[in-house]
Structure formats: structure tokens, C-alpha cells
């Protein structure tokens, strides 16, 4: 077996044939993967794909039905406390105590994890400065915005210097600006804290920040690679054109370029290897007036599409997204 990191024989996370069954439903149907030390590893998939169940098993919150998993060199079932000591967790829904100040939340955490007393004050300052909340340390958490709470949770997750930090949908429900600031903290801490980051997301654009991603759908890992390699595997650039007669355009494409195109919502879409070079040729030789043209490089959306046959949004719309959002709103 080849380890992802040659200089560190023990991977940060290694999973073998992990299965979780809930009565009739198989939430996770036998997955295998490894995460190298220092890696930022993303689990990508629609809600209900089994990402949270997997993360909960790795965090010792849920017992696997079959298979095994090691986190930071410890078995998640047999060495539960060892695992817990070495991981930090940021959940989808906030787990802060709103009636305490930011600093009180952190110092309770430090005591709960037995951080040596002489280090607590300095360490709290460090993590709070990292997420730029030090100035707000004596404010009640209830007065914080969603983004600030999430940052504080990330700080708390780091407080006891875990070797692996788990982030379950760290940016869900946040506005785009806050999302990108959360990501800048995550990438920064990857650099500064010498830590392995394991996260789940259903935002395709966020997966680009990861060193490697695994796409999960219906309880299985469908593909696992770097974002670049995944996009390369899809290959072609995507060209979208609008014409007055789409049917004629499709036929013209087939006759003159031997390209199969599809039409959806009045837009003709097809793939070519070098989209930008192809456009001039298209204008010259199609023989039809073109009203607009759009060339895009393959995105992870396309990757997801090509491996699962559906877009992540379509996969989600059938899931309990709305129900979950309602639950989150209620709990505020």
C-alpha cells in the first residue's frame, strides 16, 4: 500500500470498508480512503449523501455498523478517548453557549480537554487572534453574527491543538463574503497549525480549496482525486451558444464539426477540447447567425455531473434540505 505522504508512514485518517446502517437504510455503504498528514481533504456531495454520517463515525459520535477507521493513529471504536483528544470539531449547527462570553466558552473547552493551566490564557489569545475575535472576547456569544460564531467555533476546535480538525459544512448558511473569509482562516490555519483538515461541503466552488476531494453520493465514494485531476478527467471545455434556430444549429454542428450538441432552455451546449480556439472557427463555418456565445472551463459541477449523471442541486432538491434549514432557523 502506498501512503499518500511518503515522509509520514501513518496517515491522519484511514478508513476501511466503513458501513453505517440505520434500520433499513444504509447511510454509508462501504467506503475506503486515506488522508495524509497535513492534507486538506474535502468530502463533497449533496445533503443526504452520507457525509455527516461518515464524519460522525470518524469523530466517535456514531458507531460504525461494519468496517474500521483510524484517526490520528487510533481506532475510532476501541480507542475512542484517544481519538477525541486528538481531534477538533466544528459542527454544522452551532454548539456554543450563547449565554457565556466568547472567552468563557473557550476556557470551559480548555478545562474540558485538560489543556494545561499555564498554557490556557496564551493559547486562547492565539486562536482568537487567528480568527480576529480577540477584541470581542468579553462579549456574550448571543450577540455574535453567524459568521462570527462559526469563526469562534473554529478557534475553539483548535484550542487543544488537535492533529485533525473536522469541519462539517463550515460555511453552510453564511453569506458569500463570510464564506470566503471563513475559507481564508481555514487555509491560513492549514499553514500555521500543521494540521490535517477534513471537511464536508456541498458548495462545489469551495472544494477547489482542498488538496484532494472525494465525491460522495448515496452512501458511496464515487471518485477521489485532486480537483485539477478531476476536472481534467472531464476534459472538454463547454461552449454554449444562442441562435435563432437551435435545431438548425445542432444539425449544422453535427454536419460540419461532427459535434453532438444538446439544447436546454434555448441554449445549445456542447463540449470541445479547446473552446477558445474553436469560437472563431464556429463563427466562420456554422453558417447561421449566432446571438451569443459562452465558453467555460470544466468546473466541479461538471465533474459531479459526469460521475453521478445529475447536478448537485438536482440531487439535493429531492433531499431534506428545506427541512434541515427550517430546523436550523428554529434553533436560533
Amino acid at each position: 500500500m502506498v501512503s499518500p505522504q511518503l515522509d509520514s508512514p501513518a496517515p491522519a485518517v484511514s478508513v476501511n470498508g466503513l458501513v453505517k446502517r440505520y434500520d433499513e437504510v444504509e447511510a454509508v455503504r462501504g467506503i475506503d480512503f486515506e488522508v495524509g498528514v497535513g492534507e486538506t481533504f474535502g468530502f463533497l456531495g449533496p445533503n443526504g449523501a452520507g457525509k455527516s454520517t461518515t464524519i460522525n463515525m470518524l469523530c466517535t459520535l456514531v458507531k460504525p455498523s461494519a468496517g474500521s477507521a483510524m484517526v490520528a493513529g487510533h481506532d475510532v471504536v476501541r480507542e475512542r478517548d484517544e481519538v477525541r483528544r486528538n481531534i477538533g470539531l466544528v459542527f454544522q449547527d452551532t454548539t456554543l453557549d450563547g449565554y457565556l462570553t466568547a472567552e468563557e466558552n473557550l476556557s470551559l473547552h480548555a478545562e474540558l480537554y485538560g489543556v494545561p493551566r499555564e498554557l490556557v490564557a496564551e493559547r486562547i489569545r492565539q486562536v482568537m487572534e487567528m480568527v480576529e475575535l480577540w477584541e470581542r472576547r468579553s462579549h456574550l456569544v448571543n450577540t455574535f453574527s453567524g459568521g462570527m460564531k462559526r469563526r469562534l467555533e473554529i478557534a475553539r476546535g483548535l484550542l487543544h491543538s488537535p492533529r485533525v480538525l473536522f469541519l462539517d459544512e463550515p460555511t453552510v448558511g453564511l453569506d458569500p463574503q463570510t464564506r470566503s473569509s471563513i475559507w481564508s482562516y481555514i487555509t491560513k490555519l492549514g499553514r500555521e497549525e500543521d494540521i490535517t483538515i477534513f471537511l464536508t461541503t456541498h458548495y462545489m466552488d469551495e472544494a477547489e480549496y482542498c488538496d484532494r476531494i472525494a465525491i460522495m453520493d448515496q452512501g458511496r465514494i464515487i471518485v477521489l482525486d485532486t480537483p485539477q485531476a478531476l476536472k481534467a478527467s472531464v476534459g472538454k471545455d463547454r461552449v454554449q451558444i444562442q441562435t435563432d434556430d437551435n435545431q438548425a444549429a445542432i444539425e449544422a454542428l453535427r454536419e460540419r464539426f461532427e459535434i453532438e450538441a444538446t439544447v436546454a432552455e434555448g441554449v445549445v451546449t456542447f463540449g470541445v477540447a479547446e473552446g477558445e480556439q474553436f469560437v472563431p472557427q464556429l463563427f466562420a463555418e456554422l453558417g447561421l447567425p449566432i446571438r451569443s456565445v459562452n465558453v467555460s472551463r470544466p468546473s466541479l459541477d461538471d465533474v459531479f455531473m459526469s460521475y453521478t449523471g445529475t447536478t448537485i442541486r438536482d440531487a439535493e432538491s429531492s433531499q431534506s434540505d428545506t427541512r434541515r434549514n427550517v430546523a436550523r432557523m428554529m434553533s436560533r
Binding site: L6, D32, G38, F91, T95, L108, Q126, R191
Partner: protein, 303 residues
């Protein structure tokens, strides 16, 4: 599957070098020991105290009901009751029940906080820490006992208003019983909270348990010469064994006629055997510990 371990190593950013950019205080979390469990109990306990001290409104509202009983109901009924009290202030008579009531309500709200904790997520933060669940439950119970005991102390402090003079030994005895009761009620609440995850249902269940307990306990009437059915229910009610020793402690220090003592403080009997205060306190303690064990077992079992 395409997900084997031999996939391409991360090409993007190499993992950071072993020395971070600046000096970071690295922390090693020590292994779990008796000391770390004690510390966990302390953390959970301390959090209860911080939250209680921030919530002035709760301190006031949970005193509201006992004071209504003592000063409104007590004053209103005293003329009606004077025929049977042999000259003793009726408020003095119901006072131990009112202390218990204040304690019970506060303890109930303390236990309810674990339902809030679950709803707002903080319970999860405690559950994933490398500490035993028993420590979390025990810390909660001790926290509840402390704040409810404090609430009891406020009511104890007003005893001169109902003709009970200050006496250190009495105050200590009442306080000890209040803390014991607070502990048992919090344990009872924790046991319920392990299964009931909705705040509304939890409060409804607690009300349904606490009001009958209060009315059956003899807090508002004398336990002698009750109809058999009520006497049986009274002896089965755990609260009886908190109210009775408190009343006994108070009446032992009052200078009243033998007839009044006989009518107002007959003491609980089991099949004619007068149950000593120590046994009564032990009943409360044993019940509290039993419910605590069940609560711990339930929380351990929960995934």
C-alpha cells in the same frame, strides 16, 4: 472502486513544514484520569453557576410562586385555619413546604437546561469531549443542587417574617435538607431529560410530576389523621421525606403547646412507627442517587 489508497498524492500545497511560521503554543491533551473527570465535573458545575448568576430574572421568577403561597395563600387562609393551629401562625406551618417548593422549581429549571443544551447544541460540545458522560451528568446535578440550594437559602433567610427566629443550627439543618432535595430533583429531571428532547414536553412532564408531589407531601396540611388513601399516597411521595424533617427541625425550636405540636407536627409514621429524620433524609438521598444512576446509564447509552 476508484477510491483506493494509492491515489495521487496531494499535488497542490505540500503539507506545512514541521516548524510553523511563528511559535505556536502546542498543547498536549493529557490522558483521562480521575483528576480529569473531577475537572470535567467542575467545568459543568461552574457553567451552571455562571449561567444562573447571569439570569437575574430566573432568580426572581422562581421565588415568585413560593412567596405567593407563603404570603398570599398563607395570610388568606390563616384566619380560616386558626381554629386548628392552636395559636401557631399558619405561615409558620406551611413554611417548610414553601422552602421545598422554591428548591423544587429551581432544580427543575436547572434540569431543563440540559434540554436547552441539547436543542442549542452545547450538549454536543460536552458529549464529544474526552470525558465520561457520567461526569457530565454528575456535574449538572451538582450544579442544579447548588443553585437550587442557594434559592432555598434565600427563602430560609426570610424565616423571621413567619415567626421562626434565626438559629445557626436550624439554618444549617434546613439548608442541608434543601440541598439534598435539590440534588434529588435535579437527578429526577436529568433522568427525564435523557428521554424527553422537546422543551415543551419536558416542562409539561415536570409540572405533572411536581404539582402532585407538592400537594401530596403534606406541605400544606398535617399528615396525621388523613383518610387511608391519602395517607398511603403521602407516604409514597418522596417530597414527604423532605418536608417532614424540615418541619420537625423548625417545630423543635418553637415554644408552643403540646396540643399544637401534636396537631401540626405529628411526624410521618410507617405502620405506626415514627420515622426518624435521619431515615427520612436517607430516603431522599437514596432516591436521588438511584435516579442519578439511571440518568447516567441513559446518557451513556445514547449514541
Amino acid at each position: 472502486m476508484a477510491t483506493e489508497t494509492g491515489t495521487t498524492p496531494p499535488a497542490l500545497q505540500p503539507p506545512p513544514a514541521s516548524a510553523p511560521a511563528h511559535e505556536v503554543a502546542r498543547v498536549r491533551v493529557p490522558t483521562r484520569t480521575a483528576r480529569s473527570e473531577l475537572r470535567a465535573i467542575k467545568v459543568v458545575w461552574k457553567r451552571e453557576l455562571i449561567r444562573f448568576s447571569r439570569d437575574r430574572l430566573r432568580i426572581l421568577t422562581s421565588l415568585m410562586q413560593p412567596f405567593l403561597f407563603l404570603f398570599i395563600l398563607g395570610t388568606g387562609i390563616s384566619s380560616l385555619a386558626s381554629a386548628g393551629t392552636h395559636g401557631v401562625n399558619f405561615k409558620t406551618f406551611i413554611y417548610p413546604g414553601v422552602v421545598c417548593m422554591a428548591v423544587m422549581f429551581t432544580a427543575m429549571f436547572s434540569a431543563a437546561s440540559i434540554v436547552w443544551d441539547r436543542e442549542f447544541g452545547f450538549l454536543r460540545e460536552m458529549m464529544v469531549a474526552p470525558v465520561g458522560r457520567s461526569s457530565i451528568v454528575l456535574g449538572k446535578c451538582l450544579g442544579g443542587a447548588t443553585v437550587a440550594g442557594f434559592q432555598g437559602l434565600i427563602v430560609i433567610a426570610i424565616s423571621p417574617l413567619v415567626d421562626i427566629p434565626y438559629e445557626l443550627s436550624l439554618i444549617l439543618e434546613l439548608f442541608a435538607l434543601a440541598v439534598l432535595l435539590a440534588f434529588a430533583i435535579t437527578a429526577f429531571g436529568m433522568m427525564a431529560a435523557a428521554r424527553i428532547t422537546q422543551m415543551q414536553s419536558f416542562m409539561a412532564v415536570m409540572q405533572m410530576a411536581i404539582m402532585p408531589m407538592f400537594f401530596l407531601s403534606g406541605a400544606l396540611y398535617s399528615v396525621a389523621n388523613l383518610p387511608t388513601w391519602l395517607a398511603v399516597l403521602n407516604r409514597l411521595d418522596p417530597l414527604t421525606y423532605a418536608v417532614d424533617p424540615m418541619r420537625r427541625a423548625i417545630f423543635a425550636r418553637l415554644d408552643i403547646s403540646e396540643a399544637a405540636r401534636h396537631a401540626l407536627d405529628p411526624g410521618v409514621t410507617w405502620f405506626g412507627w415514627p420515622v426518624p429524620s435521619a431515615v427520612e433524609a436517607a430516603v431522599v438521598a437514596v432516591l436521588g442517587l438511584a435516579m442519578l444512576s439511571i440518568a447516567i446509564w441513559e446518557f451513556r447509552r445514547a449514541e
